[in-house]
């Protein structure tokens, strides 16, 4: 089962001939992902890692039946790539690209309103349903995959921090149903709440890990949803409790009291408090997520 991606996922790679696109196409193919097409304008007819390249998305979809797109296009062209995929009504679009201007994302998100299209990201590591398919950039080196099929769902605003925590889960024998990063940018396509709702509905997911960070109010909204609508246990880790207030910590998502508001909702302490009050288990450091999950599930699950 899992959520969003599984063995029926047919992937189109936008920006397949670029450095990142071709590298990760190879990685995904090695993992077993069904990559059916690539797109790079002007390079139609070529192949990359055996995958046919098309000039434009709508042609690629028509020829191959791709139902998921992953975007590795550079930041200045990435919004156009998302719009092209959305215009072609690809139901699931995953944008890896980091550094897309915020006004571009305002335009994109408005375009997505009311369209039967879901965007994950941008500035995210993608989605993996371990053992079935990987549509992303998470490390899955053969023989030492950090992932393992199982029943823990994981959703994160972060990239590498996710790997850290997934690895700890796997080391403890806790497999995952689906792991996804929703992206660290100020404006993203899919929220914590939407993802938690999918995990709550997914019979294959028994418990959920939520990885937040400072900035914005996404964790507070997630907390409200956990309190009101979730019956499955949630373990949460929020990065940045030692971050000094008022300074940007890396990408745009990590700003204390972001959004110009007067409140302190962006602070890690407030987020942690909201999640704790909503009934989530709080991990103090990344590896503790796996320890707590093992405690909750009572045994290795998966």
């Amino acid at each position: 089962m899992a959520i969003l991606v599984d063995h029926t996922t047919r992937v189109l790679v936008q920006g397949i001939t670029g450095r990142e696109g071709s590298f990760h196409t190879a990685q995904m193919l090695t993992y077993g992902t069904a990559i059916v097409a690539g797109v790079t304008p002007g390079k139609g007819g070529q192949t990359v890692e055996g995958v046919s390249v098309f000039d434009d998305v709508i042609t690629a979809v028509g020829e191959t039946g791709a139902n998921t797109s992953i975007i590795y296009v550079p930041a200045r062209f990435a919004a156009d790539a998302i719009l092209e995929a959305a215009e072609a009504l690809i139901p699931l679009i995953i944008c890896i690209t980091e550094g897309i201007p915020v006004w571009d994302m305002i335009r994109v998100r408005r375009y997505l309103e009311g369209r039967p299209v879901r965007l994950i990201g941008p500035n995210c590591p993608g989605i993996i349903t371990p053992g079935a398919t990987k549509v992303g950039i998470m490390p899955t080196f053969p023989g030492a995959d950090i992932h393992k099929p199982g029943h823990v769902g994981l959703v994160s605003r972060s990239g590498t921090l996710t790997y850290e925590i997934v690895w700890a889960l796997t080391e403890k024998g806790l497999g995952q149903s689906t792991c996804l990063g929703i992206g660290g940018d100020p404006i993203i396509g899919t929220s914590f709440v939407e993802t938690l709702a999918m995990f709550q509905e997914d019979p294959d997911t028994h418990a959920v890990v939520l990885i937040g960070e400072i900035g914005g109010e996404a964790e507070q909204q997630a907390a409200a949803f956990i309190r009101d609508a979730m019956t499955k246990p949630v373990v949460a880790f929020v990065a940045g409790r030692t971050a000094p207030p008022g300074r940007r910590m890396g990408h745009a998502g990590a700003i204390i009291a972001g959004g110009g508001g007067a409140d302190a909702s962006g602070l890690a302490a407030n987020k942690i408090e909201a999640l704790r009050a909503a009934g989530a288990y709080i991990a103090e450091y990344p590896e503790q997520v796996a320890e707590q999950m093992l405690h909750i599930l009572g045994q290795a699950d998966g």
């Binding site: 930041a75 550094g99 972060s158 700890a168 109010e217 990065a239 890396g250």
Partner: protein, 390 residues
């Protein structure tokens, strides 16, 4: 990137938003000349990127050109809230009939720009929002529509503005939105927007923040993008890092960190604290960092004399561990030739894409390796407390 008031006002004027007559001065003589042109009396405003300049003494009214020069003399080179004032803006004193507040801010939760207006201008909007929430009005602008006149009318009505000024306000707000979009501004704020004694709208102050991700297409705003950064609140090392695509913030501890990913970087700091250490910095080398960026990052960390040990924590996804390892070795070679800081110990924790090749490179260079983040953090804390500074 924050723009100075005088830079913001240049953009305003070009977009048809009225600002007071005035000019920027870098010397007392220039300030005197500007005040003379303005007819004598003038307001001298230190150009520093901080709020509360007025309270901190950065805004001074001068009665005549000589006084303007004297004020400029005093402000130039002084620091306002720890920031050096390298320029002053000399402006005609405004006759204020009413002070309003307007701002356009990207609202990340809604994914749209919020128009925030208040009939209470010239004061801290956050205080107004807390004490009189009914006096602050927020309208989200549909990006398909842009800031059409009806939003302006709605804002004017909400502020209780005299109806004779409605269409002027609607035009001003439309221009402000156009400006924000044209220059990729995540914040454009006018506080106060005044109604002059003659009944005209005028931007008495101006604050514009540009989206750092859009600087590639905003080079007119940033002639210094390829040279040394100035005019920002960040330190030289932070600015140098940013030019390389690295996020670096200096802190007060002794354990330098180099991490890929902002979330993991923060978590690494959290773990260092958890095991009893103090991080010397936040540093995210960004996604897909190549070896030159890794080398620069290491040099920046080691340029901080308080750093006693460096913890490198890399979990490779889009970043490849072999590139990181080569960058570390290169940087150490380079530093070994040019500086005495080679002796600072480095703990490396490297997993993920191409990690086998990366670990092989590190082993050849004889660098201590950790398997988990907690282990790495503990090793670093031990090395820091146990000395290791030669």
């Amino acid at each position: 990137m924050n723009l100075h008031e005088y830079q913001s006002k240049e953009l305003f004027a070009a977009e048809g938003i009225a600002v007071p007559d005035g000019a920027v001065a870098e010397t007392p003589g220039e300030a005197r000349a500007i005040a003379q042109r303005l007819g004598g009396a003038a307001v001298v405003k230190a150009q520093v990127l901080t709020g509360g300049r007025g309270k901190a003494g950065g805004i001074v009214v001068a009665g005549d050109p000589e006084e303007a020069a004297a004020v400029a003399e005093r402000l130039l080179g002084s620091t306002i809230r720890d920031l050096p004032a390298e320029r002053v803006l000399v402006e005609a004193a405004a006759q204020i009939a009413q002070e309003l507040y307007v701002a356009l801010i990207v609202d990340r939760e809604v994914g749209r720009v919020a128009l925030i207006v208040s009939s209470e201008g010239g004061v801290d909007i956050e205080e107004t929002a807390r004490d009189h929430p009914d006096r602050v009005h927020t309208l989200h602008i549909d990006p398909y529509l842009g800031l059409r006149p009806f939003y302006g009318v709605r804002a004017a009505a909400a502020m209780g503005l005299d109806s004779g000024l409605w269409s002027d306000l609607a035009s001003l707000l439309a221009n402000l939105y156009t400006l924000a979009q044209r220059y990729d501004a995540t914040l454009t704020e006018i506080n106060p927007l005044i109604v002059t004694a003659e009944g005209k709208l005028q931007a008495l102050d101006a604050k514009v923040t540009i989206d750092d991700s859009a600087l590639f297409r905003q080079r007119t705003l940033r002639p210094d993008l390829d040279s040394e950064p100035t005019d920002t609140e960040e330190s030289t090392a932070e600015a140098r890092a940013r030019q390389m695509g690295i996020s670096y913030i200096k802190l007060d501890g002794e354990i330098g960190c180099m991490v890929n990913g902002a979330g993991l970087a923060m978590a690494t700091m959290d773990v260092i604290k958890h095991v009893g250490g103090e991080p010397a910095n936040f540093l995210d080398i960004g996604g897909g960092a190549r070896r030159d960026r890794v080398a620069t990052a290491l040099e920046i960390i080691l340029s901080d004399p308080h750093v006693r040990v460096v913890l490198v924590n890399i979990f490779g996804g889009i970043t490849r561990c072999d590139e990181v390892a080569r960058g570390i070795v290169e940087a150490l070679d380079h530093l070994g030739q040019t500086s005495a800081r080679r002796s600072v110990p480095i703990v490396v924790r490297l997993v993920g894409t191409n990690h086998e090749e990366g670990q092989r490179i590190l082993q050849q260079a004889d660098l201590p390796a950790a398997t988990t983040l907690s282990e790495g953090a503990r090793m670093a804390v031990e090395l820091a407390s146990g000395g290791g500074r030669s």
